[in-house]
């Protein structure tokens, strides 16, 4: 009696095994698919012949929930920042080329020494509550964001603002503690009604006004009829929170969602034909950031050896069918004026040279290292897997340690308690300074503990000069030093795909992490 089921059990166990293997192989096949013939979206399909229509309700998928206060002055989550871009505006506003144009201000003047910015307010700019923007609103907003009364600046870098005053009803003068031509980027700080608290009631001057937010469900914004500039095409935008990438893809297929941003080339290939696909870059510096203060990365030979051992193009080929932009230092190409393209090939792929450098540094047999990565960033984890494979060639054994985002912020970024980490760093404001200041020896954000006397000297010079041409040259030199010293293992600026339904068009890439919903339209 007891022996009969055993036969059956063996059969069922075998069947289960067979099925599991089939399942597993099916899973791994889809995730590592890199057949260049089958994948790779056709970029030319982005040319959409349809005419723009006014109206319509756009549904956009967001990969993470908007779970922080909607305060544009104190927003730290990139996803919230990109959403608020549509609701709030500053005195100036960046365009797709990275230039700053007047928004709430119609024109501005910068004094000779670069320390006084005078803004002329645009006529008839209205807040979403119907009130007209006055100089008092601007003074309130700048005072709030710069923390002039509280002593606590809300935005990183805004502490350079010393005072703000309304010289007449339509003119506001902002004085800086020292001349800084790059400070114009800070004047994108949102203008809000005097006395208002955007965390309670987000009122701005942008092309869309805030309607509602349901946690873990959606955020809704609608077209602002009294917008001063070019009005938005669509009537409303609903941001649906869809965390799972698989669900995002299926929501596109089912038509539940009109637009999904930040997809990978493998995901675009999965979608197949029939969608409007545009390709851009993520605007960040993806690198293996090395803790320059710990063994063995305190030796420049070791860092250089890793750079020579890395085959960046090989990473891109495997990761994204060769798409993406290679980098050689800490500035990404959207900073057109500052980007040093020549540094990309500073360390050509050369395994022999890498081995030789390792031997000189006293590690002829290689060593073990750990790369810590926030677990919610799949592209970075995939990249690290490829990098680990490449570094094996010179005897460096990489183990990948996945940690949650908050732990990464506390332990790695804040606590500097790590050996190496693979992430992408971006700039919250459009200044090259934002990308480069962190490598100054005493900077609080210098989490890799980089220290170079010449770097500090040049950085000081770059931040005090008021001559733009000289500033470009000095920022160029800083990038060069980072490459020479092999501060980090620079990889790439990741490619970024935005997929829309065939009747949706108008998406434009900015050099910042934003989605400008006012330019998106349904086609006839």
């Amino acid at each position: 009696m007891h022996f009969r089921p055993t036969v059956k059990q063996i059969i069922s166990a075998l069947l289960t095994l067979v099925m599991l293997t089939a399942l597993l192989s099916a899973c791994s096949k889809s995730s590592t698919e890199s057949d260049p013939a089958a994948s790779g979206p056709d970029v030319s399909s982005s040319v959409n012949p349809g005419q723009p229509l006014m109206g319509g309700d756009l549904v956009v998928a967001l990969p993470t929930d908007i779970d922080d206060p909607l305060d544009p002055h104190a927003t730290f989550s990139a996803e919230t920042r990109q959403l608020l871009f549509n609701i709030f505006e500053g005195l100036v506003k960046p365009d797709t080329a990275g230039n700053f144009n007047g928004a709430v201000a119609s024109s501005f003047e910068i004094s000779e020494g670069g320390d006084v910015f005078t803004f002329k307010l645009r006529d008839g700019v209205k807040f979403h509550n119907g009130e007209t923007v006055t100089a008092a609103d601007v003074v309130y907003s700048i005072t709030r964001v710069a923390g002039l009364e509280t002593g606590e600046p809300l935005l990183d870098g805004i502490e350079v603002v010393d005072s703000v005053e309304a010289t007449d009803e339509k003119t506001v003068a902002i004085t800086l503690s020292s001349g800084n031509v790059e400070a114009l980027a800070l004047m994108t700080a949102a203008i809000i009604p005097e006395g208002s608290d955007p965390a309670q009631e987000p009122i701005g001057t942008g092309p869309f006004r805030f309607v509602s937010r349901s946690p873990q469900e959606n955020v809704v914004i609608e077209k602002f009829a009294d917008y001063w500039g070019t009005p938005a095409y669509v009537d409303s935008v609903t941001y649906n929170i869809i965390e799972s990438a698989e669900t995002q893809i299926m929501s596109l297929m089912s038509g539940a969602v009109d637009l999904v941003a930040h997809l990978t080339s493998a995901q675009v290939a999965e979608l197949g034909e029939g969608f409007n696909v545009v390709e851009g870059t993520m605007n960040l510096v993806q690198a293996v950031y090395l803790n320059n203060a710990v063994e063995p990365f305190n030796k420049v030979e070791v860092r250089r050896a890793l750079c020579y051992a890395l085959d960046k193009q090989g990473v891109l080929d495997l990761l994204s069918d060769g798409k993406g932009t290679l980098l050689g230092s800490s500035v990404y190409p959207a900073f057109t004026r500052y980007f040093r393209e020549d540094l990309i090939s500073f360390y050509p792929h050369d395994v022999e040279k890498a081995k030789q450098l390792l031997a000189e540094a006293g590690y002829p047999e290689g060593f073990d290292m750990t790369i810590s990565i926030p677990s919610n960033y799949t592209p970075h984890i995939d990249t690290a897997t490829i990098v680990a494979e490449q570094l094996k060639e010179i005897g460096v054994n990489v183990s990948i340690d996945l940690i949650d985002w908050n732990s990464w912020v506390t332990e790695v970024y804040g606590g500097r308690n790590f050996q190496a980490t693979l992430v992408g760093l971006d700039a919250s404001t459009l200044t090259a300074r934002k990308m480069l200041e962190r490598f100054e020896t005493n900077n609080s954000k210098n989490f890799i503990n980089f220290s170079d006397a010449e770097y500090d000297e040049v950085f000081l010079e770059a931040s005090t000069t008021t001559d733009s041409a000289q500033q470009v040259a000095l920022y160029g030199r800083l990038q060069e030093i980072l490459a020479e010293q092999a501060a980090n293992l620079y990889i790439q600026d990741l490619c970024d795909f935005v997929v829309m339904q065939p009747d949706v068009a108008g998406y434009e890439f900015y050099p910042l992490y934003v989605m400008d919903m006012s330019k998106i339209y349904f086609t006839a």
């Binding site: 069922s12 946690p215 929170i241 965390e243 912020v409 606590g415 609080s444």
Partner: protein, 313 residues
Amino acid sequence: MLYVLKKLGVFLLTLFVISILVFIAFQIIPGDEATNILGAEATPERLEALREQLGLNEPPVTRYFNWLAGFVTGDLGFSRSYNMPVSELLAGKLGITACLTALSFVMVILISFPVGLLLARFAHSVFDRVLMLINQLVMSLPPFFIGIIFTYIFGLVFKLFTPGKFVPLNEDPLRFWGYLIFPALAIALPKSAMVVKLFRGSMVSQFGEDYVRTAFSRGNSRRRVLMHHVVRNALIPVVTFLAFTLVDIVAGSIIIEQVFAIPGIGRLLLSSISGRDLAVVQTITMIIAAIVIAVNNLADLSYKYIDPRVKFR
């Protein structure tokens, strides 16, 4: 009476211990609410100021009892991330997850009982063997995988529902339940398979008992013996297992909510853990724990009705 009081005491004690464990876990993992709100670029001074403001600098014991005092008086706390009271945050979501879990549980019973009975009736036949093999396959499928397959087949090919387009109950009750059918089924299928296996096994083993032989000797048909004598006796281990199944269903809904983009408490729990939103995590954990314990107690109570010989002490 004493029995009920004893159970209630154990119930409260268990909740208390769980809340302490959750609190301790939050003390051990790196990062806190302040780092989540201010992000990676925050200066140490601003972090410190916010911690002071949020009361995170008080000793852990004080903070725990502050939370406990609020909780027992009905104040569930405040979610900083969403800038609203936890009770308000949970209000809409709890119902959705409850509907999903209940639907799934009903499906488990509706699927597993008839199938289990059928298999016991025809035990060791070819029909039984083939079905038990299929059963074994279904048992090993993870719910999220079934969920993805369902979305492709029923959502994209047969267009029975629109993947990614959840419909709130107050908007259209019919489409709300329609949207929940497939996620509920994705959770229910592997669980049903387990119950089928257990139920069938339990019944088949009863056939060796003396009372069954007696029943047969009185001239009863196999069907009658099964329905009138065996089922009742075979039910006790199944009811115990169903209680565990409910716990699994709640856990399964956390994953399935992500696959089907359903705004329930499962997704909220996950995001609140990464956001270090302790008040939200504590409340959801307490709710789930309370349900689990309550269901287990109900299962214990039901034994008495299934088998009158069971006595409570």
